[in-house]
Symmetry: C2
Subunit: 371 residues, 2 copies
Amino acid sequence: MTYVVTPWEVKGEVDYDRLVKQFGVEKINDIVLKRIEKHTKELHFMLRRKVFFAHRDLNWVLNEYEKGNKFYLYTGRAPSGPVHLGHMMPWLFTKWLQDKFEVDLWFQFPDEEKFLFKDNLTLEDTTEKYLQDNMLDLIALGFDPKKTKFLIDTKNADLMYKEACRVAKKITFSTVKAAFGLTDQSNIGEIFYTSMQAVPAFLPSVLKNKKIPCVITHAVDQDVHFRVTRDILPKIGHYKPASIQCMFLPPLTGSSGKMSASEQSSALYTTDTPEEAAKKIRKYAFSGGQATIEEHRKKGGNPDIDVSYQWLRMMFEPDDKKLEKIYQDYKSGALLTGELKEILIEKVTYFLKEHQKNREKAKKQVNKFLI
Amino acid sequence: MTYVVTPWEVKGEVDYDRLVKQFGVEKINDIVLKRIEKHTKELHFMLRRKVFFAHRDLNWVLNEYEKGNKFYLYTGRAPSGPVHLGHMMPWLFTKWLQDKFEVDLWFQFPDEEKFLFKDNLTLEDTTEKYLQDNMLDLIALGFDPKKTKFLIDTKNADLMYKEACRVAKKITFSTVKAAFGLTDQSNIGEIFYTSMQAVPAFLPSVLKNKKIPCVITHAVDQDVHFRVTRDILPKIGHYKPASIQCMFLPPLTGSSGKMSASEQSSALYTTDTPEEAAKKIRKYAFSGGQATIEEHRKKGGNPDIDVSYQWLRMMFEPDDKKLEKIYQDYKSGALLTGELKEILIEKVTYFLKEHQKNREKAKKQVNKFLI
């Protein structure tokens, strides 16, 4: 059973327990959940269900918060194609964190990253077309423009490049070779890039001239960037960033790897019409059911490998009781795969309709988020 | 007889003829001088005397110029300390070129470079203290603010970083390893840096959305950066930059290596008082004379190794007849080392007084040169 989890590739059936050890992150446990709940009054279902399953230094962040030293949130998106539901999952959670803790969010758009790492993308694709498009998805989620800043690498390089150089001076090629698997054939933009991804983890502290704790919300594949960042920041006078890390929303086609924007059949895009989405779910969503209705009624299905069920669990059914009923009904055979898919389709339809309405409105709001 | 000429180190007695072959540049010959003179009506003494001794593609630039496709000039200064006379030499020539050809000059201040490459410099030193100081020396030379733009890497990164990424994508670590001698222990800022130095060689073309030939005036130690740049630019739709390259003004203390701002006794700074300058010349200027006056009168001196004579030849005595007389008188023994030094001191005194007056005035003009 092999798998790969790097910022550029997620392949195979990810063993999250092993990842926790491999990366040296902490599992989210009931103690830290209780501490969060004390402030948020309720727990987001992605926390209750351990979709956000790992963290670094959350206890320290909560200590600081309780002393009156508020943190800020940092997450991001490297424009490289249309946004799919797998991207949205951590952003929905980030929005919840922002609302509950009333904190700032710095959202990075490293619009050079995918250009540097992928042969087939131009800078025009990443810094214009997809950047403009992807910003709408963020805004449509309802982030408060007073508390949310978009940091765009190429456009805000006047703020970022200098700070990236402070980081870069402390990182040797040996380090990025070992951490990211780069080689002598890697281009020098790829080699430098992690310094740019480090910047939002301390830029607000530079701009406000005081040390502010940072919590990065991200899928676990980005952890390696922030391991390097955490090594460096104390050396240049900043806090190590904390983080809270989620699993991958599985691709429609099965539970291994992560959803990929470049594989049409594995992803639902935020701009798919509800009809297209329904069609994809009916056609592609990997089923944990049996081969025939008769067999399914008799033996029952397996919700743990059923993508529709997993999507409900991870993203679309906040109500634990409803989810439990679906789980049991599917397991017993009372709920057929087709019926389960329709439950998901109803949720997705509602989500897409709302999101697409908000996405239209977002076109007029972009400026409010720019620096 | 060994010597080293890299952007970070110049050591030993430089064999410029060998460098021409090593770097693959062309020597400045009478044909290209004639072509320049056709447009400038006269030849700057640094051309006549082959202080600017090598070039790349000047014939092509002149072809384009004659077709009405004007070039622009690009040169620069990495802030890392006070400016000395060795830095000023190519800038004086650049000013002459600008005036004669009536062309734009893009002057780069890569204010991150020396921070990245030197342990003992902070970003505050390079991006603030020395940047502010060094800009005054440029302005004091009388560059036309309407035709001259200062491009400051950290401050203008919003224009530059994106373009640097286009360059960086085409350069592997192998290439910078071979070209610059970087190693696995080099920091990732150093590794990326040459992409930033490439940007002024095509940025004006990007901003004006038309291909404009670029002529870089620089000391020969920077050639390696632009060899790499010349390899890359055609791949991203730009002209290869042309260049015109000078020798190093020798340090006061002798004719090997180049003047170093960090060795007090080898350099005259633009902010030295005329008295300090005179004292340094009297005390340190390496002499081609004999041990005693009697011996000097009898055997004569050697102007070719005498630093005072070389400074007159390369920078301070534009009049060929006067220079020739000094040469012959020194060689014959009629002119003593002390007398030769006084000739130089008079020139340097005049230069420093004028420059320091203009440098004061420059403090109010900085904004005119910023982008």
